[in-house]
């Protein structure tokens, strides 16, 4: 007789069980799951309004069983501002990629953060425009080849990759800001802790919360999922250091 099965890995209730459209090795799925686990654990599913952005992650709403609205490219923080001001009793978060947030949406993210909108922003930085086929993003690493910098990004021509978590951390309305990765079990646990704190920060009405995920895009990096994951540790983390940047959830000053 077989031993009783032990459940070690349960899909969060708020995550919809359906085939993924993400490529093999893409870490959007992991980031979605972490957001879903936190929404479940904090009991927020039936009061959450998600604001989807433009790019691969526009389909966030296909995977999360919550109310959702689609924002134009880069405008998710403005749309979320409207949602939250109209319904301050609801949990409102945006989920945006680096092309969306760090390029076309720079004004909207900076001012939503500076106003201290009571929203949570999940920012997924994979150093490339994914859905449109791998063009250069503001976060593309020096030397990284993309379809619009085929010779590799050059600092003199295109500038340096932009460090959003550090920029956001400088703004007055930000109560919690952290950069995380999901390239190891240890980092996934830390990422979840940060996302949880970001949502708690909103639930307590403290202000703006921001979590930057470093994530893979094996398809546009032209790497295997394993090599893409290695690149996170070897290339991305040294330039985009992990860790907390702002935590005023205790009411105190910057850490």
């Amino acid at each position: 007789m077989q031993a009783a099965e032990k459940l070690v890995f349960k899909t969060p209730d708020v995550i919809i069980d359906r085939p993924t459209h993400y490529c093999p090795g893409c870490q959007h799925g992991t980031a979605h799951r972490i957001v879903g686990e936190v929404i479940d654990e904090l009991g927020l599913a039936d009061k959450t309004i998600a604001v989807a952005s433009i790019g691969c992650s526009v389909f966030l709403y296909n995977y999360l069983n919550v109310d959702a609205v689609e924002a134009p490219h880069g405008r998710a923080p403005a749309v979320a501002t409207g949602v939250k001001r109209a319904r301050p009793d609801r949990t409102v978060f945006t989920y945006q990629g680096d092309g969306d947030l760090a390029s076309i949406g720079m004004a909207e993210i900076m001012h939503a953060a500076n106003r201290g909108e009571r929203i949570t922003v999940i920012f997924v930085n994979n150093t490339v425009y994914g859905m449109t086929g791998g063009q250069m993003a503001p976060t593309t690493m020096i030397g990284q080849a993309t379809t619009t910098c085929p010779g590799g990004r050059c600092a003199e021509r295109e500038g340096l990759p932009i460090k959003m978590a550090e920029i956001i951390g400088m703004l007055g309305g930000v109560v919690f800001c952290e950069r995380v990765a999901v390239n190891s079990v240890k980092n996934i646990a830390r990422a979840k802790k940060a996302v949880r704190k970001a949502f708690e920060c909103q639930e307590q009405g403290l202000g703006f919360s921001f979590v930057e995920f470093l994530a893979t895009c094996p398809t546009n990096w032209k790497m295997s999922p394993v090599d893409a994951n290695k690149r996170i540790a070897e290339e991305l983390i040294p330039y985009f250091p992990l860790g907390n940047i702002v935590d005023r959830t205790g009411g105190g000053e910057d850490k």
Binding site: I49, A52, A68, V69, E70, P72, A78, V79, G82, A86
Partner: protein
């Protein structure tokens, strides 16, 4: 109780109308000549329990409007011509996502930075959608402060009836002119019974508000649905006909220019000349039917606009099987008075 009468500017009448219509959220950005609207609401709306946000740009203001509209509350934004160009992105998304909201454009001179004086150069932008894709806004063009106040109140009801953005198209004359208006009693509305707005999925399936339709046939279906809705909006067509019955020449003009032309028509009538005025109040849907009926009676037409000729296209389309329309344009950058319109009207009347 007799309605309260207040002496206010057209911009303030629009803001007061929004407040009395139960507007809960306003998202603004400074631009002349509409600044009285956000200034008025920055004080009055929070006092009434609503939210006022001065956005970082017109782009952001319009997208905040999109977000608030998705929750089913009454919300509004206002701007003037250059700012309206920036709002078109969100307006297209709102039309595609079928979100109700009121957008105000106090038209100034263009193109580009133009000037800060009145003009009607945004007629095409207003009536052809304005942004990308096939869509229409319901466009209301008040000519007086009272009409501005009344039409803003009506605009909210129309926005929710059709789940579509409604545009109030005024200009710097209307915005800066002061007149007495009769206020209505302020009402709190509950438009959230339609079963489409977002408020968290407690006790029901999740809802999704979007304009992306990738599945085979889905976008075609959405476009057909929108076209059917715009056809249904024809029921809202409004116009003012002034002394058109026995007129030999019908002047067609809207907004402030419609009001100025009315003065000229009145003056010429006093001299026994058979002229009348048809003033479209809805620019979309356009009053095709009354124009065609007048054309069927053998009347001649003169369209007068504060631009280089835009609405005249719609007048000609309306009457094309029976008649044509002359055109007289007041240049953006110039301010007409009733006497300036006398010559062009007499010229068309003489044929």
């Amino acid at each position: 109780m007799a309605p309260e009468r207040v002496f206010i500017k057209g911009n303030e009448a629009i803001a007061q109308g929004a407040l009395d219509a139960g507007c809960r959220c306003f998202f603004g950005y400074p631009i002349t000549p509409q600044n009285d609207i956000p200034e008025f609401l920055s004080k009055a709306l929070p006092e009434a329990g609503g939210e006022f946000v001065q956005a970082e740009s017109e782009v952001a203001a319009a997208n905040m409007l999109l977000g608030a509209a998705a929750t089913g509350v009454r919300c509004m934004t206002s701007s003037s011509s250059p700012g309206m160009s920036l709002k078109q992105e969100a307006i297209s998304y709102m039309a595609g996502s079928e979100l109700p909201a009121v957008v105000v454009n106090m038209n100034r001179g263009g193109p580009g930075l133009g000037d800060i004086g009145p003009a009607q150069g945004d007629y095409y932008q207003s009536t052809r959608g304005g942004g990308h894709g096939d869509y229409r806004l319901l466009v209301l063009a008040p000519a007086t402060c009272q009409e501005a106040y009344d039409l803003v109140i009506e605009a909210f009801a129309l926005a929710f009836r059709y789940r579509n953005p409604v545009l109030i198209l005024g200009d710097a004359i209307l915005g800066q002119m002061k007149e007495p208006i009769a206020r209505r009693e302020s009402v709190t509305y509950d438009d959230a019974s339609g079963g489409w707005h977002l408020d968290g999925n407690a006790g029901r399936d999740k809802r999704l508000i979007k304009s992306l339709f990738l599945d085979e046939g889905a976008l075609a279906g959405q476009n057909r649905h929108l076209m059917a809705k715009y056809a249904a909006m024809r029921a809202e067509t409004r116009w003012e006909a002034f002394q058109t019955e026995d007129a030999e020449l019908v002047v067609c003009a809207y907004g402030s220019i419609g009001r100025i032309a009315k003065s000229t028509v009145r003056k010429l009538r006093a001299r026994g000349l058979k002229v009348g005025l048809l003033r479209p109040i809805t620019l979309y849907p356009f009053p095709d039917a009354p124009l065609l009926a007048l054309a069927g009676q053998g009347k001649r037409f003169l369209t007068i606009e504060h631009n280089c000729g835009q609405m005249v296209d719609d007048v000609r389309l309306a009457i094309r099987t029976k008649a044509d329309s002359d055109f007289f344009g007041v240049m953006p950058g110039e301010l007409p008075n009733p006497d300036d319109l006398e010559g062009p009207i007499l010229k068309s009347l003489e044929g």
